[in-house]
């Protein structure tokens, strides 16, 4: 499996899980849970593809995890900037766990998956 695809898979799965955990950390968001999960999953897929693409170009565990952290935090920030129906923003609850998800995706795409080897 190539790295962008692996990233998408890991990011997507973690995105679903991340969305579901909103029920625990912010139970008042239960009515919007479907939208939260969809949004979180799409975020996870995009982050996964981007970080996976980076991992196919740069083979460095530290750099891959940092890039994962930054990319995931960016998208998490975009999501967190959207207010909930009652106007509440859940910045920390979205960005912090979302960043860790980015770290996990960065780790997974550096360690696993196959990168294209360019002929010289």
């Amino acid at each position: 499996m190539n790295k962008p695809l692996l990233g998408a898979l890991v990011g997507g799965i973690l995105g679903v899980f991340d969305g579901l955990t909103a029920l625990v950390s912010a139970p008042e968001t239960a009515p919007q849970i479907v939208g939260i999960i969809i949004g979180s999953t799409i975020k996870g897929l995009i982050v996964g593809v981007l970080v996976g693409w980076y991992a196919s170009r740069v083979h460095s565990l530290a750099k891959g995890m940092i890039v994962g952290l930054i990319v995931a935090a960016f998208f998490a920030l975009l999501i967190a900037a959207l207010p909930s129906p009652d106007g509440t923003h859940y910045y920390w609850e979205i960005i912090l766990p979302g960043s860790i998800v980015g770290l996990i995706v960065g780790y997974a795409t550096q360690k696993f998956g196959t990168a294209k080897v360019r002929a010289v």
Partner: protein
């Protein structure tokens, strides 16, 4: 007036008066560097290719004797085994008095005895040992057993290359089985069956185990397993799996050891990768521990995520 000769000159004359007379003028002997039971090794200058080489000359008292024949066999074994861990042979021939010699690469480096003193930690030791094992595994694959592995027969070159030397008593595996019992080897690195003249590839495995034991503890392995384990734990405190690998090599019964150096090399690779090894059956707890060590980064990240989620839930 008689010439006055200093001690240095007298010693020098005693040496050069018996230097081998090589045919032609391509190789020029410069100095002796070692003498073993079978031959004497000299540094020489290859005037054609303008490089230093090592020349091993038979110690045979007369041409055509058993020692000559063994040197010829050693040269042929070396020529057949082309491997980065085996010194390449460049040339061979006969001296003016008919004795055998062969020319090989001159290795600039230090013996394992000196090198091991500078190795820090298990990973460095295993890194060197693995190269020795791979070399012997290659030889076994080619049907040759070394029969005299010991620290002084391993050199580490100036670029970090690891070379196994002195294949003078090496034998084809089939020949060894067919030949009458000949006792060769070095006490301490020689298994019981080799002392009886019945060496096989497992005999080399025993020697490799003794070598690793020595590298980890700076001592020779005691014959009894329990004593060996005690010395290992006292000197090196290796993980159980590594100790099991060493002890498996040193088993007194050949059938209890690894069948050849390749099997040992494979188990060692598994050990270094954090995987279960054939020499040791892990308990459930050990398996979980191995799994945790192998995936520790991932597990810690997931744990951090879950802790963070739990924190938010708690704070709320």
């Amino acid at each position: 007036m008689t010439t006055w000769l200093s001690n240095t000159v007298v010693d020098h004359l005693r040496v050069v008066a018996t230097w081998p007379e090589l045919p032609g003028d391509r190789y020029v002997i410069e100095r002796p560097i070692g003498r073993g039971g079978m031959g004497t090794v000299y540094v020489a200058r290859d005037t054609l290719l303008e490089r230093d080489v090592a020349i091993k000359v038979s110690n045979a008292p007369v041409a055509g004797s058993g020692l000559d024949e063994r040197l010829r066999q050693e040269a042929q074994v070396l020529a057949r085994l082309e491997h980065p861990g085996i010194v390449p042979v460049h040339d061979a021939g006969q001296l003016a008095d008919g004795r055998m010699f062969y020319v090989m690469k001159l290795v600039h480096g230090e013996t394992l005895s000196a090198h091991t003193k500078r190795l820090l930690g298990e990973a460095a030791i295993l890194g060197v040992f693995e190269r020795v094992t791979e070399t012997i595994a290659f030889a076994h694959e080619a049907g040759v057993i070394h029969r005299d592995l010991k620290p002084s027969n391993v050199m580490v070159g100036r670029f970090g290359e690891v070379l196994v030397l002195d294949w003078g008593v090496a034998k084809a595996i089939e020949e060894e089985a067919a030949a009458s019992a000949t006792r060769v080897g070095t006490p301490g690195f020689m298994p019981p069956e080799q002392a009886r003249g019945e060496a096989t590839s497992t005999s080399d495995v025993f020697a490799l185990g003794a070598l690793l034991f020595w590298m980890l503890t700076d001592a020779m392995p005691p014959p009894a397993r329990d004593d060996a384990l005690r010395v290992l734990n006292a000197a090196a405190r290796p993980p159980r799996r590594l100790a099991a690998i060493v002890l498996k090599c040193l088993a007194s019964e050949p059938s209890d050891r690894y069948s050849n150096a390749a099997a040992l090399a494979a188990d060692l690779a598994r050990y270094r990768a954090g995987q279960p090894v054939a020499a040791h059956r892990e308990t459930t707890l050990e398996r979980i521990g191995l799994w945790f060590i192998k995936y520790r980064t991932f597990i810690l990240l997931v744990a951090a995520y879950l802790v963070m989620r739990a924190m938010f839930a708690f704070v709320r």
